[in-house]
């Protein structure tokens, strides 16, 4: 093959790969009469986290539309510049470097999820950018970055938070000598979930009989061997830290091998997405997982219902998660808090805006509150709760839009019903 042809092929390959790298859409690249304020981010718009990424994007777009309808920020329109990171954290640092140094955005929003947010943290720190986080588990633990603000409702005890809710609920049964199996996905999120679960287990004096991680999707196709290994230990409590595909597959595998621990679930992401809820349907009965919004009467957070009404009417049209219970309210709040800080300070200076958010806390559709005084960048008080599904009779989405089917069992302040113990797993 001649060098010329080889060179041509190489160019084609690079061009194709470049399209893949920057497959997302950059809005607001063109100027206008009044220079727009530009907010940059990468999001998982495709890949295994695409459902979450797209719902966050819609929440941000609704937020920007709300602000622009009011005349913008500092009298200027606000625009979003975003790229698709394909749910691949290794693409994130490059995209944020491009956003800051090439696109020269005024502010940034984080990508979605612990691995991606952690990956972009050094870039945000290097450039001194205010860095609002969108759904990460203790992403700032090793960095201690002053201007990282986590819009995620678990509070300062991020790593142990979900596990605490789960094991606290188990302890409230009054049963003694409970044994625990911990299974999590082998990524940044799973590692932190496991770490938190082990801390929590120690606190409650429980005995761990199984602790392992499984290779992330799609490396693990069949979960029955791993669930059977857990079943073989006879663990009473099965605590899982999984991403969406793992969540669905592990629940199905438990049903198939006939494993019915007394409490099952924990940090299973994806159970709040409509597609997964309708896929699982009655299989969710008895499962417990940490959630951030469900239509229960004990949940009264800010204007979440109003926001969800807007979101749901748009989501149906745009083919995005039609419920929006998981990320969207917090994603809206993340963008809204940033824009409010810019407006209040009248400045685009990162330090000025960052200090303002630090001092004034967060205030948006999810309510308002302060930041953890210890400087973790997390909200001061946890807003997470543990839900136990029950009475799900079909795979219809309407099952999940009414009270009484996703009962909050912990913590006490949000409790909307008693815990069923042992969990009536998979019972119609």
């Amino acid at each position: 093959m001649s060098m010329k042809r080889f060179g041509l092929m190489l160019i084609i390959l690079v061009v194709v790969a470049s399209f893949s790298m920057a497959g997302g859409k950059a809005e607001g690249q063109e100027g206008s009469d009044t220079e727009p304020i530009r907010i940059g981010a990468s999001l998982a718009l495709t890949g295994n986290l695409g459902s979450a990424g797209k719902s966050i994007l819609l929440a941000w777009q609704i937020c920007l539309e709300d602000w622009n309808a009011k005349g913008g920020v500092l009298g200027r329109p606000v625009e979003l510049v975003y790229y698709d990171d394909h749910s691949n954290a290794s693409e994130v640092p490059g995209l944020y470097t491009k956003l800051i140094t090439v696109d020269k955005v005024d502010f940034i929003q984080s990508p979605y999820g612990t691995p991606a947010i952690t990956a972009a943290m050094p870039i945000a720190m290097e450039h001194g950018m205010v860095y609002p986080g969108n759904a990460a588990l203790a992403a700032n633990k090793e960095f201690n970055y002053k201007y990282y603000f986590s819009f995620w409702p678990l509070g300062p005890r991020q790593v142990e938070g979900i596990a605490d809710l789960f094991f606290e609920a188990a302890m409230s049964s009054g049963e003694k000598n409970l044994t625990v199996a911990i299974l999590s996905e082998d990524n940044e999120y799973g590692a932190r979930v496991s770490e938190g679960a082990l801390e929590s287990v120690k606190k409650y004096g429980l005995k761990v009989v199984y602790n392992d991680r499984y290779p992330p999707s799609p490396a693990t196709v069949d979960f029955t061997p791993v669930v059977r290994a857990v079943q073989n230990t006879g663990a009473d409590l099965f605590f899982v830290g999984s991403f969406p595909q793992g969540t669905i597959s592990i629940i199905k595998a438990c049903k198939e091998v006939g494993y019915k621990p007394k409490l099952f679930g924990g940090a299973m992401t994806g159970v709040a997405y409509a597609a997964n809820l309708t896929e699982l349907g009655p299989l969710l009965n008895g499962v417990c997982a940490c959630c951030y919004y469900v239509p229960e009467p004990t949940i009264q957070f800010g204007n979440v219902e109003d926001f969800l009404e807007t979101y749901q009417s748009r989501a149906a049209v745009e083919g995005v998660d039609p419920l929006g219970y998981y990320n969207p309210p917090w994603a809206y709040s993340s963008m809204d808090t940033l824009l409010k800080a810019i407006e209040a300070t009248g400045s685009l200076d990162q330090t000025v805006v960052g200090d303002y958010i630090l001092a004034n806390g967060w205030d948006s559709v999810v309510g308002k509150g302060a930041w953890d005084p210890a400087g973790s960048g997390e909200i001061a008080e946890s807003r997470g709760f543990l839900v136990q599904w029950r009475g799900i009779e079909s795979n219809d989405l309407s099952e999940f839009m009414v009270p009484g089917k996703q009962v909050i069992i912990a913590p006490e302040e949000y409790q909307s019903g008693p815990m069923l113990w042992p969990s009536p797993l998979f019972e119609d």
């Binding site: 495709t46 299974l183 069949d222 006939g258």
Partner: protein, 291 residues
């Protein structure tokens, strides 16, 4: 103890059969036609989404929906090979042709992912049938139909392909063309037609593997890219161009993964599988069944 071992091995066999279904088309295109179709896993996922579409829209059983999409994929594979042959293969020597194919199919893989994302969105999709959750018990061994049905379909697929390539005239012509295209021409066969048929068959297997995939686990558009390594490794392990070898390789990988998960730890699953692959390739570089 014996119960656990038996159940673990059965799980490995069932998932191994599915792996074989995923890899067999690649074995045909890469082994017989020498076309490194790295878009193969993308077509598997496309098959899964089309099955999902037929299931949700018309209420068809996924296994039936899979049969309906096979002709579509066959025709597409047939025509794609014609185009590939016209614009790439016939204008280059074999080495250049393979290089071109890598670039071409890499692009095709990404186009498939983009099309699926736009058409179906990025949510995980799966199909659930009345038989999906049925578990049959044979003594202490439990077999879920969600796993067993794809396995049986895979076995059937391998048997049909084995018989086709070893007993039918066209199958033998394809084998002859795969061995020596020029010599096959001298005895009156049309290599281009034979290869088009083989490529169509390769795509048909991808379509049905996709059907089985979406019955087993939820799929989303980018899974094809992520599944590439496993599909290639099984095809190579079995010996490119050998349906039987691919089936055995799938079973070896499935059982190894299953036992590793149960007795060493699920975090070691991939590592042990690939160590095994390296050992077998080191001992027998052509794969298990390639002559």
């Amino acid at each position: 103890m014996i119960d656990v071992i038996l159940n673990t091995i059965v799980s490995g066999i069932l998932i191994g059969g599915f792996y074989a279904a995923c890899a067999i088309g690649l074995s045909i295109s890469f082994g017989m036609l020498r076309i490194p179709n790295i878009a193969h896993p993308g077509f598997i996922i496309a098959g899964g989404f089309l099955t999902y579409y037929f299931n949700k829209t018309f209420g068809l059983d996924p296994l039936l929906a899979g049969l309906l999409i096979i002709p579509i994929f066959f025709a597409f594979g047939f025509l794609l090979y014609r185009g590939y042959n016209r614009f790439f293969e016939s204008k280059r020597d074999e080495r250049e042709g393979q290089m071109s194919a890598l670039v071409l199919f890499f692009g095709v893989l990404m186009i498939i992912e983009a099309l699926l994302s736009v058409t179906f969105g990025v949510d995980f999709r799966t199909v659930t049938t009345p038989w999906s959750s049925i578990v049959l018990h044979f003594g202490s061994v439990g077999i879920c139909l969600r796993m067993a049905v794809p396995f049986l379909c895979s076995v059937l697929m391998v048997c049909i392909l084995y018989l086709y390539f070893s007993k039918t005239y066209l199958g033998l012509v394809i084998q002859a063309v795969a061995q020596d295209s020029m010599a096959a021409t001298l005895i009156g066969s049309d290599p281009r037609f034979a290869k088009s048929i083989a490529f169509g068959i390769s795509f048909s297997t991808a379509a049905y593997a996709g059907t089985l995939f979406v019955c087993l686990v939820p799929v989303e558009p980018s899974l094809g890219m992520q599944f590439l390594g496993r599909v290639f490794s099984i095809a190579i392990l079995g010996g490119l161009g050998s349906p039987l070898g691919t089936a055995v390789a799938g079973l070896i990988v499935g059982i190894t993964e299953s036992l590793t998960t149960a007795y060493i730890g699920s975090s070691w699953t991939l590592a042990v599988s690939f160590i095994l692959l390296l050992i077998i390739i080191a001992v027998k570089p052509t794969g298990l069944f390639r002559r």
